[in-house]
């Protein structure tokens, strides 16, 4: 892996979208259109979920707005590789939906209806397991997924499966002891794990300067004996390239940490009010860094999609999300008799 030195940019500052560049190795214009389509659909459903919360039909949601490019960039790299497994966290709607869920499945999950693919409406939305798409997220206790992902990687290694494991976590989870324990063990055993820190600079309301005394979580990787890189998490192609390199490194040499600098465009969850702890100017400035808008501009300026084509994709997304909303709204919640099912495995 090249360029493994740590940089110390300030948080997401100084990262300007470099829009006049060659397509990265292995990427076709069709891939870009495919991922643009996924990104637009995911943003559309994310906004709809928020709206449905305000209508009282979605009890709770953590918006992924601002995190789309980082997650989809990693998914694109993983799909190109073809043998990756994912341990995401609760803000990873883009990864989970991008990996193959239909809009209806997503809406069923957010509305707590029968047919939620992750837990059949036992857990908060899109938590549990979606093994069909190689995703496990057992809970929303932050950092619990890190040791599990490392154990999964250990098992793959023992079984001779050369899978690479992606585990995602926020800057908040980076403070947990389990994050240290997971990285330490992965470093000792050189396990094929890509640690993706989605650093949006806030742990609910607590800013990064109150969470840690350093500017870059990536610097910690050195202490575990593996490289840590800072990535522009607002740029899908930058995320893709970093993840592609990280997959190669993980499989050959062991763990990597990627610190994706990005922004949380919305409050922590639908129950949060970020105006209590974020100045209005900061919130306004953050919204200017919308990765979906940036990718739209890129696609337009590079000539991969016309304005009309983009509008058509947005319209298709709205139709799909409308249909999904109606279907999920009409669906039934699980029967009360389900309460006692599956406490134990047979």
């Amino acid at each position: 892996m090249t360029q493994l030195t740590n940089q110390t940019d300030g948080h997401a500052d100084g990262i300007a979208a470099d829009i006049s560049r060659q397509l990265p190795q292995g990427i076709t214009p069709e891939d870009l259109v495919d991922f643009y389509r996924r990104m637009v659909t995911i943003r559309t459903i994310d906004e709809r979920i928020w709206m449905m919360n305000r209508q009282g039909k979605v009890p709770i949601a953590a918006s992924g707005q601002g995190h789309e490019a980082a997650q989809l960039g990693s998914l694109l790299a993983a799909e190109k590789d073809g043998n990756c497994f994912f341990f995401p966290y609760y803000r990873d709607l883009s990864l989970k939906m991008g990996a193959g869920l239909t809009p209806t499945q997503v809406m069923l999950s957010f509305m707590g209806k029968e047919g939620d693919p992750y837990s059949n409406a036992r857990q908060f939305p899109l938590q549990g397991a979606d093994l069909e798409h190689n995703v496990i997220q057992t809970s929303n206790v932050v950092a619990a997924q890190l040791t599990q992902a490392v154990g999964y990687a250990l098992a793959c290694k023992m079984l001779g499966d050369d899978k690479v494991i992606f585990v995602y976590f926020g800057d908040g989870a980076s403070s947990q002891g389990e994050t240290h324990e997971a990285m330490n063990f992965a470093g000792v055993h050189k396990l094929p794990v890509v640690f993706v820190c989605e650093n949006n600079a806030y742990a609910i309301s607590v800013p990064q300067r109150m969470q840690m005394a350093i500017g870059d979580v990536a610097n910690r990787a050195e202490g575990y004996g593996f490289p840590g890189l800072i990535v522009d998490g607002l740029d899908l192609l930058a995320s893709y390239e970093a993840c592609r390199e990280a997959i190669n490194h993980a499989r050959r040499e062991g763990p990597v940490m990627l610190e994706m600098k990005l922004e949380r465009l919305m409050p922590h969850t639908t129950d949060d009010d970020d105006s209590r702890y974020r100045p209005k100017e900061e919130i306004d400035a953050v919204r200017e860094k919308d990765p979906v808008a940036a990718f739209s501009s890129f696609m337009l300026e590079q000539g991969y999609l016309t304005e009309e084509q983009q509008e058509e994709i947005r319209a298709q997304a709205r139709r799909a999300v409308n249909e999904a909303t109606d279907a999920a709204d009409a669906a039934l919640p699980p029967d009360a008799s389900d309460l006692h099912k599956n406490v134990y495995a047979p």
Binding site: A129, Y152, A155, F185
Partner: protein, 328 residues
């Protein structure tokens, strides 16, 4: 049949399961060349290699979390925590995560992990090497909890635990490791999880216990028989969760008197649940108040011999409680 100690039975169970199934592996502090702090994995690294006998950093949360993650990929890990008292950093992965994997995925994922935990006192272990931890896990749906008393039960139940598709908390009383010896068959056998055993039949009083205390209960039962006071039936729970309510109730209905014995703190212990069970489902059969001989509500047993003795239930304390019940 050969006579073996509890620790030998535990070791044999793991070795045979590792020979039988390549998905089984052990991990924990000092389980490798040291062979485990109690030598439960003695000879394993020589036989199975460092890939399946993993010496971990001193970090219990990751021991449990990594084992859990490996189980998601089809492995059957046996993580070891050196002493129950060191378990607490792993509790999020055990209670918060492992116990809810099956339920929280509506059955699409499961967690076949057997966490082995040496526990219990009477060995001058003081506050941080003596603890009984069973009540915390007994309270947690999604876990199975096993606490054997004999080498035969330890081996058969540990094999069942390893083959079970759920997270199992396997509690090994440290004092029984070398103190308790008994017949263990040479051939492969398993014992059903969730089945208690009547270790000594009797007509007059039921005493329900598990682990080391079963042996003290048996001694006390012999004392009362010798005194001609009562014939005591000793029920060894063997599995705490799921609780074998049938065997307990059957015995209580027969004798009409119930004593529960455990080393764990009395308040909120296993005995509280068994007393509630008897009151709820065998009320009409009871001829005396339900008795309990348990550890007192102090934070585990102290280091000083006098204080440890004062904490520990023993044969004499149990015998006295049985005499009181017999006289009621």
């Amino acid at each position: 049949m050969a006579v073996k100690s509890v620790i030998e039975a535990v070791r044999e169970a793991m070795r045979e399961e590792m020979q039988r199934d390549e998905h089984v592996f052990v991990m924990g502090e000092d389980v490798g060349w040291r062979g485990g702090v109690f030598l439960a994995t003695q000879g394993f690294i020589e036989e199975f290699g460092p890939e399946r006998v993993i010496d971990t950093p001193l970090a219990e949360a990751s021991i449990m979390g990594i084992a859990l993650g490996a189980s998601f990929r089809g492995m059957r890990p046996i993580p070891e925590v050196e002493f129950a008292d060191f378990l607490w950093p792993a509790v999020n992965q055990l209670i918060g995560e492992a116990a809810r994997v099956c339920y929280g995925s509506d059955g699409s994922l499961n967690a076949p992990v057997t966490i082995r935990i040496p526990y219990g006192g009477g060995i001058r272990g003081g506050l941080f090497h003596s603890q009984n931890v069973e009540a915390y896990f007994f309270h947690t749906p999604g876990l199975k909890v096993i606490a054997p008393a004999t080498p035969y039960d330890a081996k058969g139940l540990l094999k069942s635990a390893i083959r079970d598709n759920n997270p199992v908390v396997f509690l090994e009383h440290k004092k029984t490791y070398r103190l308790v010896r008994g017949d263990v068959p040479e051939e492969d056998y398993v014992l059903p999880i969730g089945k208690a055993e009547v270790k000594r039949p009797g007509q007059n009083i039921t005493v329900v216990s598990y682990g080391l205390m079963v042996h003290y209960c048996l001694e006390a039962a012999e004392l009362l028989a010798a005194e001609g006071v009562a014939q005591v039936e000793v029920v060894d729970l063997r599995t705490l969760k799921p609780l074998d309510t049938e065997t307990v109730l059957e015995s209580v209905k027969k004798t009409g008197k119930l004593l529960i014995v455990h080393e764990d703190n009395i308040t909120g212990g296993i005995g509280s649940e068994i007393a509630a069970l008897a009151a709820d489902q065998a009320f009409d059969y009871l001829d005396a108040p339900i008795g309990r001989v348990c550890g007192p509500d102090v934070p585990t047993m102290p280091f000083a011999q006098t204080l440890e003795d004062a904490y520990m239930p023993n044969t004499q304390k149990i015998a006295q409680a049985l005499r009181n019940l017999a006289a009621y």
